[in-house]
């Protein structure tokens, strides 16, 4: 057969198959996502369901009353929610197809600040979990759809039959996914209580903001769920703030507030604890001694995608920002990105990490680096003046996220000259007096010799080695002056 392409006529000699294989989706794509992330995808669908149900978000706790329960067993897995259910027409058109169809085919009336944009989460989670699954949902007309083992292993992409849901099964707005014939990885994980515990931690972190808005998530074994397990509490985010010193400086959070390329951006950075003393920092360099809440957390439409990161991903070790190490353990930050059009957010399909090619995130990272650099410089400046540190913590207190968000709108009055649509808070952190006139002296000495000097200068009084060194230094200096 001859085919005309432009000016030439070419003879076709065959067809090269270009359709995707089912094996790729069922067995290969699932390797790119961790089991826990895959399960979080199912929770994301719940939240998207709520957003579709409630439309515009108005209160501080828009998700109150909505909940999801995940039951783990070595033989099966169930997730059940009351987040709105899947409309029958959506199920027919694309809820069970691979990937979201072009926009014109999708009902956009419920478009909201969701995190589901790829249309892959539920299917990939089911493939990751096992080879037999039942999806039941009741929005308008209840239905069930089964992913049978035969369909999973079959080569073709035949449509899945839908059946009516029995009366009494599932309340209105409910969805239940049950997976049997679990894969080995899941059997082992679900039988392990510590794995379930670590998954709870994962939810506590990645759903911290969503939980704070009222969503309840329960996770456990059948017995635990039957005993009405407590919903998972979200991880907290808070920053230190102090009263102003006479020169107007004080410890306070850096905040940035505004929009970039259609994405609402909020950035909060500061200290979540007092700075480490030199001895503590030294110990921290050798072994992790204290609870480490340092690093950057990034959330897209409330869903945390980066948790407490201290790598280049969040600007550490880039430009003039030093690499993260123990000295910076008090520094933390949170980035909240929001958009009604999730395609504008730097989300990846696994929702862990960030789409590195995102220009919005590159711009946000410029601001994150600015805040980190100021905070690392702050810790360096005070490293030499540890003993005066107490003076800066005047009336120190924590500001929790809701208060931070309110505050940000008030205090973010400074200009960001690169981005006319962003504002920043004008922060003046305390600086040690005579910062430029002093240098740090530090050396190692024989312990017996230090003890001897300590006895000489302080007798039996308690004194740190740094104080002994300082006493000896001052003594020598005084003698020269004489």
């Amino acid at each position: 057969m001859a085919e005309e392409t432009g000016l030439e006529t070419r003879q076709k000699i065959g067809d090269a198959k270009a359709a995707p294989t089912k094996n790729f989706f069922v067995n290969m794509l699932t390797r790119d996502i961790e089991l826990q992330d895959s399960l979080l995808d199912l929770l994301d669908n719940c939240v998207d369901g709520i957003l579709r149900s409630i439309g515009e978000v108005q209160s501080d706790t828009p998700y109150a009353g909505y909940k999801a329960t995940m039951t783990f067993d070595a033989e099966y897995f169930i997730i059940e929610d009351n987040c709105g259910g899947i409309p029958k027409s959506v199920a027919e058109k694309y809820a069970f197809s691979m990937g979201r169809p072009p926009d014109e085919d999708v009902d956009q009336s419920g478009a909201a600040a969701t995190v589901g944009m790829y249309g892959i989460g539920m299917k990939r989670a089911i493939f990751k979990l096992g080879s037999d699954a039942l999806v039941e949902s009741r929005h308008d007309e209840g239905f069930t759809v089964e992913f049978s083992p035969e369909w999973m292993s079959d080569r073709g992409w035949t449509d899945l039959p839908m059946f009516p849901l029995n009366d009494g099964e599932l309340a209105d707005g409910g969805t239940r996914i049950t997976v049997y014939q679990l894969h080995d990885e899941c059997k082992k994980a679900f039988a392990e209580k510590t794995w379930i515990e670590s998954f709870r931690n994962s939810i506590s972190r990645h759903y911290a903001i969503i939980i704070s808005k009222g969503f309840e998530i329960r996770v456990g074994t059948e017995a635990e769920i039957a005993a009405v397990a407590e919903p998972i509490a979200g991880a907290e985010f808070r920053l230190l703030e102090t009263d102003a010193l006479p020169d107007g400086s004080r410890v306070q959070p850096f905040t940035y507030f505004g929009t970039l390329d259609g994405v609402q951006v909020e950035i909060y950075a500061g200290l979540y604890r007092e700075l480490l003393t030199e001895e503590e920092a030294d110990r921290e360099e050798q072994t992790r001694g204290v609870k480490d809440d340092a690093g950057w957390t990034v959330a897209c439409n409330d869903r945390v995608v980066i948790w407490k990161d201290t790598t280049r991903l969040t600007g550490w070790g880039e430009a003039t920002v030093p690499n993260y190490h123990g000295q910076f353990i008090a520094i933390t930050g949170l980035v909240l990105l929001h958009s009604d059009d999730p395609t504008k957010l730097p989300l990846t399909t696994t929702k862990r990490g960030i789409d590195a090619s995102s220009n919005v995130y590159a711009e946000v990272k410029d601001l994150m680096r600015e805040a980190t650099k100021n905070l690392t410089s702050f810790t360096y400046k005070w490293k030499k003046h540890e003993r005066d540190l107490d003076s800066i913590y005047q009336n120190s207190r924590y500001v929790e996220l809701p208060a931070l968000r309110t505050m940000a709108q008030e205090v973010s009055t400074g200009q960001v000259r690169k981005f006319a649509t962003m504002k920043r808070s004008e922060v003046k952190l305390p600086a040690p007096v005579n910062e430029n006139r002093t240098a740090r002296v530090s050396f190692t000495a024989d312990k017996d010799a230090i003890a001897k000097l300590k006895k000489h200068y302080f007798e039996d009084q308690p004194a740190a080695t740094s104080e002994v060194g300082e006493a000896a230094f001052n003594d020598a200096l005084n003698r020269i002056k004489k």
Partner: protein, 340 residues
């Protein structure tokens, strides 16, 4: 002797380089007006560049900075106009707090920024390039940045001769220089940089491309703007220095900007990060200078030599100078001894 310890009035290359920078800024105005821009640079104690940008471009929003509070006090004494603000900051602190520094000076409303990071210390090249990236992170289209760094190959490594006798073969010296350079700016070194390039002639282009790689980090290809190199010049008043000037421009306007600046007709224009020009400014007597000024551009080089009666090429100055002089004689500084 390091560049920073030579008195300002004995640095003719630096003086010409500075004038060329201002000449370039006036060309930048063909694309984007700079009259309301804020100018920021170290300036040292005489604030020569601040004076120049004020006189030639009419800029009034001037900021000078230095790490040493006593130098800042001297700057305050020497500032050309009252609106020149002198502040005590290290370059690192300044770029980290750029928005705050501008706000404190009252120049947050400046339409654009022109910043000159004039570094001298060769040992801090890594920090200098990273500060440059931090600065670029905060810039918007129309902002101009100039960075000057030490580009002396022997600053990287130079063996100490014993009793006047060389102690190491050249190959070995260049190898050690290369490993020192990799240690300092390994992240940014071009993939094809190699030992043989660790000479005064070739090192500047390696540094320039490294700085280009750093600029790409600040303006990645996914972004809407690019930091376009405009002029890259090397010169030596003692130590060899490399000066790079570029401008932030929306990616789709770069070609239009280059066309308007017409850098092809400007002797020291650079189209990319590897195009480095050598600037040679010899000591000329006043008689030589006045003669050359009248004749250059209209008289062929061999005829010039004949008129002069001697050959600059045979002297230390080198032949290239006669070809270049017509491009910068306007900026040749008058250095005269005077009894005051």
């Amino acid at each position: 002797m390091s560049g920073s310890s030579i008195p300002y009035h004995l640095r003719p290359h630096k003086a010409v380089d500075r004038r060329l920078f201002v000449d370039l800024l006036t060309r930048c105005e063909r694309w984007h007006p700079l009259n309301d821009a804020a100018y920021i640079s170290m300036g040292a104690y005489p604030l020569e560049d601040h004076k120049l940008v004020h006189r030639m471009l009419g800029l009034r929003k001037l900021i000078a900075f230095d790490y040493n509070p006593e130098v800042v006090k001297r700057q305050v004494f020497n500032r050309p106009i009252d609106t020149c603000k002198c502040v005590c900051h290290s370059s690192g602190d300044l770029v980290a707090n750029l928005d705050a520094v501008l706000a404190d000076a009252g120049y947050a409303d400046a339409s654009n920024l022109i910043v000159w990071l004039d570094y001298t210390s060769p040992g801090e090249l890594g920090e200098q390039i990273r500060e440059f990236v931090t600065l670029l992170d905060k810039l918007k289209p129309g902002d101009v940045v100039r960075i000057t760094v030490n580009a002396n190959a022997s600053s990287l490594f130079s063996p100490k001769p014993q009793k006047g006798v060389p102690t190491m073969p050249g190959d070995e010296v260049r190898k050690l220089r290369f490993s020192k350079l990799s240690e300092r700016i390994g992240d940014y070194l071009p993939a094809d940089a190699k030992t043989a390039m660790m000479t005064d002639e070739l090192l500047p282009a390696v540094l320039s491309r490294a700085i280009g790689a750093a600029a790409l980090e600040a303006f990645p290809t996914s972004g809407a703007s690019v930091f376009a190199p405009l002029s890259i010049v090397r010169y030596a008043d003692g130590q060899q220095m490399l000066s790079l000037t570029g401008i932030v421009v929306p990616r789709d306007e770069e070609a239009c900007m280059r066309e308007k600046l017409d850098l092809a007709s400007w002797r020291f224009g650079s189209r990319d990060w590897s195009e480095v020009h050598l600037l040679t400014v010899p000591d000329l007597t006043i008689r030589e200078r006045l003669f050359l000024e009248r004749a250059i551009g209209t008289t062929a080089v061999p005829d010039l030599k004949e008129h002069l009666g001697f050959d600059f090429g045979a002297l230390e100055v080198g032949e290239a100078f006669l070809n270049d002089y017509q491009h910068y004689y306007r900026f040749y500084p008058n250095l005269l001894a005077a009894e005051i």
